[in-house]
Structures are given as C-alpha cells and as structure tokens.
C-alpha cells in the first residue's frame, strides 16, 4: 500500500546522500563504522605504530599482567606472554593478518561473485543454470571441511586458508548477485532502456550495476564477518596461520596452555575478534536498515 505523508518535503538530494543521512541517524551503526575504520587503519599501519617488535623478547618481564593490575608494568599496557613478548604489539600486528586478509578475501570474492553472478543473471537457459549451480556443491560441504580439504592438498598456511575461504563464500555470493540482477532486469526502466537501443553491456554497466551496488556492499559485510571468523577458527585449529605468526586465532591457540596462569593472553585476542566481527555486522545491519528506510520515504 502506498504510504503518503501529509507534509511533503521536496528532497532533491542524491540517493547516496540520503543513504548516509539515514545511516547517520542510527548511532549504534555509526559507532560500528568508526570501529571498523579504526581497525582498517590499524591493519594498514600496525608495524609502524606498535611500541615493540612482534618477536622482541623481554627476559625481565615474563607473563606480566595488564598494566591496570597491581603487578602490571606500564611499559607493557596489555601485559606480556610466556616468552616476554608485548601482547599489545602482537595484537596490533594481528589486525593486519586477521582483519586485513579477511578484507582482501572478501574483496576477491566480491569481484569473482559479481562477474559470475551477473553472467548467470543476464544469460538464460542451460548456460545460466550451469553458472548458477556450478559451485553449489561447496554449499553442501561445510566451510571448515572444505578448508581442510584444500589444506590437505596444498599444505597448511595462511594464504591457502584465504583460498579456502574464498571458495566457501563464493556460491552464496553468486546466488545473491544473480537474484539481484534478475529482479532488476524485470523492471520497467530497464525495458525502456532496452527499447532505447542499449546493448547488453551498456544495460549492465549503466542500468543495473548503479542500482545494485549498495546491496553488494551489504553482502560484502556479511562475507567479511564470515571470513574473519573462518580465518581465526582455522588459525585456532593450527591449520591456518602457524604459531609465531600474530594472527589472532593463532595467538589464542599458542596461549591456550596458559589459560590457568595468564587468562588475559587468551581473553584479549578473543575480545579483539569479537569487536572486529561486531563492528562489521553493525555496519552491515545499519546499511541494510538505511537502504530499506530510504525506499520507504
């Protein structure tokens, strides 16, 4: 049913600006966005701003608790681990691996997913069916099992994990993009554009993509949160990043034996993981809400 407002106010702002205004009014999502940006900056600049080197050992300061504790030392704000390495520096560098690599994995998935999804959406018949269901089999294989198989073939390592995650995320992505493209293709303005004589390439680039890229960003945030969780889980299972690396899941695994002695070495990487995933989900949710509301007014 058409919703009409009594006091109509002419709004000639661009759709992007209206989206931002809707998004801005949701304060929780805004906090999520700031956290997300902070983590991105951290992932890019961590080696430069971290107080100590990743593997720099301090023999005089083993297993120090965080500095707010009575036994803590202000030199090591979040304490040290059993080899005397500064936890703050390690966690900051971990952002590059866990968060940075997840973003790269999600971006690669987006690129592949958009290409294959639009191809599947724009073609018909058998070709479309093939493209659409090409990777469906990976939907049935649990993502961790798929990662295990890829690791069994290629050997453990961080980059192999990234490939595994890309493969696991791709089919969902193709389905979502295809549904968006098909829904858009049925609309009147596309038919008008077609009657104007636009060829298929122009139809896609000028007609469809500008109308779905905001939805692609929402799908991207969902893929990103899954990628972060998967990279960390594989690091935790000793299948992804290997121990001296500062990937958050690997740090957690390395310090698992210290859970009695120094719970903060297990707790803190988890807190960061939680914040990373939460901020991604907040941005995604906020964006989806804003898109829905923008359509309403």
């Amino acid at each position: 049913m058409a919703k009409f407002s009594l006091f109509t106010e002419e709004s000639n702002r661009s759709p992007l600006f209206r989206l931002w205004r809707k998004f801005r009014s949701n304060h929780v999502a805004l906090v999520g966005l700031w956290l997300f940006l902070a983590l991105t900056v951290l992932a890019l600049t961590a080696p430069l701003i971290a107080p100590y080197g990743v593997n720099q050992q301090h023999a005089d300061a083993l297993l120090l608790p965080p500095s707010w504790h009575d036994d803590g030392d202000v030199r090591f704000i979040l304490g040290t681990d059993d080899l005397g390495r500064d936890i703050l520096s390690r966690l900051m560098n971990g952002a590059t691996y866990t968060f940075g690599l997840s973003i790269i994995a999600a971006l690669v998935t987006t690129a592949l997913g958009v290409v294959l999804g639009t191809l599947a959406g724009a073609s018909r018949g058998l070709k479309s069916s093939l493209l659409n269901h090409l990777l469906d089999i990976t939907l049935a294989i649990p993502s961790l099992l798929l990662a295990i198989i890829i690791i069994a073939i290629l050997g453990p390592g961080l980059m192999n994990t990234v490939w595994a995650i890309i493969f696991a995320l791709l089919p969902q992505y193709i389905h979502s993009i295809r549904n968006l493209v098909v829904a858009e293709l049925g609309k009147d303005y596309i038919i008008a554009f077609k009657l104007d004589g636009a060829n298929r390439w122009r139809l896609l680039v000028r007609g469809i993509l500008p109308n779905i890229y905001e939805h692609i960003v929402v799908i991207f945030t969902m893929a990103l949160s899954t990628a972060i969780l998967d990279i960390a889980a594989l690091g935790f299972l000793k299948l992804g990043a290997q121990p001296p690396s500062t990937e958050w899941g690997a740090i957690l695994q390395e310090n698992l034996s210290l859970i009695y002695l120094a719970p903060w070495t297990v707790g803190l990487p988890g807190v960061l993981l939680f914040i990373a995933v939460l901020s991604t989900n907040l941005v995604g949710d906020g964006l989806r809400e804003a898109l829905k509301n923008r359509k309403a007014d």
Binding site: S128, P142, I148, V266, L282
Partner: protein, 344 residues
C-alpha cells in the same frame, strides 16, 4: 504442479550427488602421496598385494572405468582403510557420526525453542525495549567466535565454578551399551541404569557443548523470524484484520504467525552446513568423540582416506537435510512451488 517441482528438485539433487562423488574421486589424484594408498589406505603392501589392488581399483584402465569402480566400491561399503588406525573408514564413520548428529540435533532444538519465540516477541514489540534487548543480544551472539565462547564458558563454569565437566560424553564410572550410538537414547533403552544417575551425568556433559553450538543458529533464527514477521505484519490483510478490531495476540497468533514461519522452516534446514562446521570446532574443544574431531585429527595425521570418507558422509547428509526441508517447505507453502528452484 507439485510433481514438476519435485522432479526439478530431484534432478538438481542427482546433479549435486554426482558432482560430490566426482569431487571425492578426484581428491585421490589431488592429494599428495601414492594413488593406490589414497584409494585403499593400504601402506607397505607387498608386490602381489599391490598388483591385486591395481586390479581391484582398475588403476590401469581409463578414468571413467576408474570412477565406475570407485562408485561400485562406495555402494558396497568398501570405503578403504584409515591410514592412522588401519580400520575401515566406514566403520569409523558409523561409530562417530551419531555423536555429532546428536549434538547438532540438540543444539538445533534449543535454537528453535529459544530463537523462534524470541523473534516473534521482538517483532510484536517492534522498536520498543524488548525488541531492542533481543536485537542487541542476538547481534552479540552472532558476532562471538565459537571457540572463544567455548573457552570463556570453560573458564567460568568448569575451572571457576566447577559446575560442569570439561570433556567427553559421559563419566567414566558408567558403562552404557552402545546400540543407537545416541547416548541419551541408549541410556533410555537400557532403562536408566545406575538409578538414573547416568542420564543426569550425560545431560551434564551435554550442557556446555550444546549451549556453545546453539548460540549461532539461535541468533540466526531470531533475526530471520523477526524480519519475516515484520514483513508479514506490514501487509494489507493484517491491516484489515486490525481494522476489524482484533487485538494483538489474536492478530499475531492466528494471522501473522503461520505465514511468517514458512520461510523460517526453510532456514532451519539450511543451518546444517554451518552447524557441522561449528560442531567440528566445538568437538575439538570439548573432546567430544564425534566425526568433526576425528576429521581434524585426520588432517593432522595426513589420513587421506579418512578425509574422503568424512567428506562424503557429511556432505551427503547436508544435501539430504537441505532437500528434506525444501520439500517440507513447498508442501506447506503453495506459492513456493511456482518459483521452482533451479528454474531460470
């Protein structure tokens, strides 16, 4: 109409099963190591044995004959031997899969019992405080890494308070005859031995892994139910019903709920793939003797026949579960049958 729909679904199912077996078959070539060893799991076999294996697995014929021989063995139940234990892979799978399945089913039950009503409550009080609380809690549960949650619960409830045991399915004091390999059913079949204490102990062992495993599907169901309910509540027939003077409980229970729950049924079936991924991690942390932990140990030991067998069993199960939920959904929802899946 339904026959046509079922036909489409089943042909897609056959296609998926075919790709799955081809993928599993090609893994023998992709994995490092000897082809024969990957196929059979026999190490250090003598010359005569190797010749017999070459004959049995048709290694010298072309790839299609090899695939045919592979499929024939799969149907006969000869899934090769595990490299680490020397026992048949199928035996391991039969022994361990019920444990995983048991955990997943309980977690899913908990998720449905908590998730669906919470989603309905959140949508009934849209933009009021119950909605806000449920929404933020579900977002937090959605974002928490499963292994960290498990470690936190262990720190608090096992190490701190000592309320629950940390690992295993049942205390070592009790001996239960495995019949179905579902621990609670086995205890029931034996007629609650040890004065019911064994049942209580098994529940205690189940509590933490089930909670950890249920967290993610619960939050997904809450969010999904809430969104679906809000969509339905926005429709015209609900407005008509409200205009007729129905109160909120009548509106939700009699008019909105039925339509809103249809997509949720489909969603429940789609949870299995994620659930098994999470179960693998949960099993490792809680030393639960299930298929997931076995698979993770197989990769540590480079036990390729075991990985293949696990892949085949788990994926087969997920495909069947998805299809069952899809069929149930389309039986209940006539509209879904028109937009037949796979039709483009």
């Amino acid at each position: 109409m339904f026959a046509k729909y079922a036909y489409r679904r089943i042909s897609l199912l056959c296609f998926m099963l075919f790709t799955l077996t081809v993928f599993t078959f090609s893994l023998n070539y992709l994995f490092p190591g000897e082809l024969i060893t990957n196929f059979s799991g026999e190490v250090n076999s003598s010359y005569a044995q190797t010749q017999a294996l070459v004959e049995k697995y048709r290694i010298e014929d072309n790839i299609i004959v090899q695939y045919g021989a592979f499929m024939a063995r799969m149907f006969e139940g000869d899934w090769g031997l595990s490299l680490s234990s020397g026992q048949p892979v199928l035996g391991h799978v039969k022994l361990l899969f019920p444990a995983t399945l048991e955990l997943c089913l309980y977690a899913l039950t908990v998720a449905v019992i908590i998730g669906v009503p919470s989603g309905v409550i959140a949508s009934a009080y849209h933009k009021k405080w119950p909605d806000k609380i449920i929404n933020s809690l579900s977002l937090m549960g959605f974002s928490i890494p499963v292994f960290w949650l498990a470690l936190l619960l262990i720190m608090v409830f096992c190490l701190g308070l000592g309320l629950f045991p940390m690992s295993g399915r049942i205390g070592l004091l009790y001996e239960i005859q495995p019949v179905t390999h579902f621990i609670l059913i086995d205890i029931y079949l034996e007629g609650f031995p040890y004065g019911g204490a064994s049942f209580w102990d098994a529940i205690h062992h189940l509590a933490l892994p089930t909670t950890v495993l249920a967290m993610y599907p619960t939050t997904v169901l809450i969010r999904f139910t809430r969104d679906s309910m809000l969509d339905v509540l926005d429709q015209n027939y609900i407005k008509t019903a409200r205009a007729k003077g129905l109160n909120r409980s009548q509106l939700i229970l009699h008019h909105a709920l039925r339509n809103a729950l249809l997509p949720v049924i489909k969603q429940i079936g789609l949870q299995f793939s994620t659930l098994i991924t999470l179960a693998m991690i949960t099993e490792v942390i809680f030393s639960w003797p299930g298929l997931g932990r076995w698979l993770i140990e197989s990769i540590y030991q480079r036990d390729y026949p075991a990985i293949q067998g696990g892949l085949l069993a788990v994926s087969f199960f997920v495909i069947i579960a998805n299809m069952m939920s899809d069929l149930v959904h389309s039986l209940l929802d006539p509209i879904a049958r028109n937009q037949a899946h796979g039709k483009i």
